[in-house]
């Protein structure tokens, strides 16, 4: 009686992968197909185990290096006064930035009803949570006395003293802990219905119990859906200003000081744009392999890629503009110290870092003006790696040259990280990917129910289905 024959799992990926009006995912026929194909991604593979092993190994190295640093003192890292902040703070800002794209895609684009987010937002949101978890380690890790980090938290104590609330570092503590909590909650709320689906498909009784616990006994009742929608909407509404505030606050760490090159009013927007830019880079780095190896090309379609690439291009242009404005202000402001600093950044001591930054973040992304490249996953993936590199160096270029070339010429210096810095940097990637790998094989990387929402429901023969209006 149905006009369309139920599609077989085999031919699904081979369908023409282009957008049809009012039908974003033409290759998805019905709800069962969604369940089948998404659940299929959860089966662990050899390659996955191998990657997990590598991630854990890197993490181990990082932990070892940190223990050594705690025992010996921060001297084992490559600090070279007055460069008192180095790889750790750079990496901290880097990971915080990564997080932002996730929230942008999952929350802001949700509010803007941008359809292309549907299939990638779960991945991006998970990336956010793990990136912030990683970033959160670094402020503690770079302390001279890390075992005292809790003194930055306002808690009643027998000394009667409290944190100094005028310090940007205390702002950080609040901003980041809030950001972590809210995005973790946001991710988990979104997951509940999907976990319920997993629960219902699960055969293994132990796993079933765990999934039941995690799904909170969700049963897809219309009442649950109603409140769910509200809560989801408000969380999205909160996350939107939050994501803007968090990186602004991080930028205050620099803008509030009077270090040349840090003391700029442009920093808040500049950092937020940069954060989203770097985040898009990481999204592509992650989503493109997943799309390929999990056979999700007909979920994460080229249209999705295209839209993402446009967003990347846009943020890249914003960031590039910010770079140029910085130079303009330095020239126009005519403060000798600032001018010295920017000259030194571009043509002096740090030219190499600055040019890596400019190439990766300003020049290469211009290729995305070409639609062919925007729709070419391979190129997008390579470009995304360059973007990650470039954004790490952006933070390097902001932090190190400023400190090494300050007001006091007598105290000008250089900066060379040591093996400890690099090990801990590597360890942070290990930590991030460990969590991410565990995530993608235990929970659906594509939001099952949200995909079902945009798949046309079955209707009785003869009737037009009621969806879409």
């Amino acid at each position: 009686m149905a006009t369309l024959a139920p599609p077989s799992p085999h031919d699904a990926p081979h369908r023409p992968n282009i957008a049809a009006a009012g039908q974003p995912l033409p290759a998805i026929r019905d709800y069962e197909q969604v369940d089948r194909e998404i659940l299929a991604t959860l089966r662990p593979t050899k390659g996955w185990f191998a990657l997990l092993l590598v991630a854990v190994a890197c993490l181990g190295l990082g932990i070892a290096a940190w223990m050594y640093q705690i025992q010996q003192g921060l001297g084992v890292a490559g600090y070279n006064p007055p460069v008192m902040w180095g790889v750790y703070i750079i990496t901290f800002v880097f990971w915080i930035g990564i997080g932002h794209a996730g929230t942008l895609i999952s929350a802001i684009l949700f509010l803007f009803r941008a359809g292309f987010r549907t299939t990638i937002y779960r991945c991006a949101e998970a990336m956010t949570v793990f990136a912030v978890m990683t970033a959160g380690l670094f402020p503690i890790l770079h302390l001279g006395r890390p075992w005292k980090f809790f003194w930055l938290v306002p808690y009643p104590n027998w000394r009667f003293i409290w944190p100094q609330f005028k310090s940007p570092l205390v702002w950080d503590v609040f901003a980041i802990s809030t950001y972590l909590t809210i995005s973790a909650t946001f991710l988990f709320i979104g997951l509940i219905p999907d976990i319920a689906t997993l629960r219902d498909r699960e055969r293994n009784p132990v796993k079933k119990r765990i999934l039941s616990a995690l799904s909170f006994g969700w049963r897809n009742s219309e009442r649950e859906w109603r409140h769910f929608a509200r809560a989801y909407l408000f969380l999205a509404a909160f996350s939107t200003p939050l994501v803007l505030s968090v990186h602004s606050v991080v930028s205050f760490d620099f803008a509030m000081s009077l270090v040349p090159g840090w003391h700029t009013t442009i920093f808040a927007p500049y950092f937020v744009a940069g954060a989203i830019f770097s985040g898009m880079g990481m999204v592509f780095t992650i989503i493109i392999p997943i799309r390929k190896f999990f056979r999700l090309e007909h979920y994460v379609t080229l249209n999705v890629m295209d839209a993402g690439a446009k967003l990347t291009l846009f943020t890249s242009l914003v960031v590039g503009c910010a770079y140029l404005v910085e130079f303009f202000i330095a020239w126009y402001g005519a403060v000798p110290v600032e001018q010295d600093y920017f000259w030194n950044r571009l043509f002096g001591q740090w030219w190499w870092a600055a040019w890596i930054m400019l190439t990766c973040n300003m020049i290469l992304p211009l290729s995305l003006f070409s639609q062919r490249l925007r729709r070419n996953p391979a190129w997008l993936w390579i470009l995304s790696l360059f973007i990650n590199l470039g954004m790490w160096f952006e933070r390097f270029v902001i932090i190190v040259p400023g400190l090494s070339h300050e007001y006091e010429p007598w105290q000008w210096s250089g900066y060379i990280p040591t093996w400890v810095d690099y090990s801990i940097l590597l360890g942070s990637f290990g930590w991030f990917f460990m969590w991410f790998l565990l995530f993608i094989k235990n929970l659906p990387v594509v939001a099952i129910t949200e995909v079902k929402e945009i798949v046309p429901p079955k209707v009785r023969a003869g009737h037009r289905h009621g969806g879409g209006h």
């Binding site: 005028k166 006994g217 049963r219 219309e222």
Partner: protein, 167 residues
């Protein structure tokens, strides 16, 4: 004493039609299970607006106030001057106000959602079926014993794939 009739539909418009009919005849309380939120059901059931927003508002306001309070009170409790600034300066303290507004607002929203969605629930109530998280729409009519027949009849009429009563 819980009694009712459960119908599992493959097609959404069938389910919607059945619901409308059941409502018309006042057969009993209707619960709909759907794999994905569809506004067709909302049109059919016309439920009240979700009160979660109130939790959000209250949480957000109290968070904002607490943010200012903790910062100002702590600064004044041991007044030390830093960088020639006032002991408590409201401008930077706005950051704490904002962050705590978001934090507490967000968490209370979740609380509201849990409370009103009646989760976490410890046991699956009768009438649920794993299919409802896959491709089927479920309509569960809870009604008095004498009305069970009508309910079954209606569900069948609108082409429920399966109709079963439950104790």
């Amino acid at each position: 004493m819980m009694q009712g009739m459960l119908g599992a539909f493959r097609e959404i418009d069938a389910a919607v039609a059945a619901i409308e009919d059941l409502k018309e005849r006042k057969v009993g309380a209707i619960t709909v299970f759907t794999p994905a939120p569809r506004h067709e059901f909302e049109h059919a059931l016309k439920p009240p607006r979700s009160p979660v927003r109130r939790y959000t508002l209250i949480g957000a306001l109290s968070g904002a106030v607490f943010g200012y309070w903790i910062a100002i009170w702590a600064s004044e409790s041991w007044p030390l001057v830093v960088g020639g600034k006032a002991v408590s300066t409201w401008v930077p303290y706005t950051i704490f106000s904002f962050e705590l507004m978001v934090l507490i607002g967000g968490l209370s929203t979740v609380a509201g959602f849990f409370i009103h969605a009646r989760i976490p629930r410890v046991t699956m109530t009768v009438g649920y079926d794993p299919r409802f998280s896959a491709g089927h729409y479920g309509v569960w009519v809870q009604c008095a014993p004498e009305k069970l027949r009508d309910a079954e009849a209606i569900l069948r009429r609108y082409g429920a794939e399966e109709v079963r009563g439950a104790e």
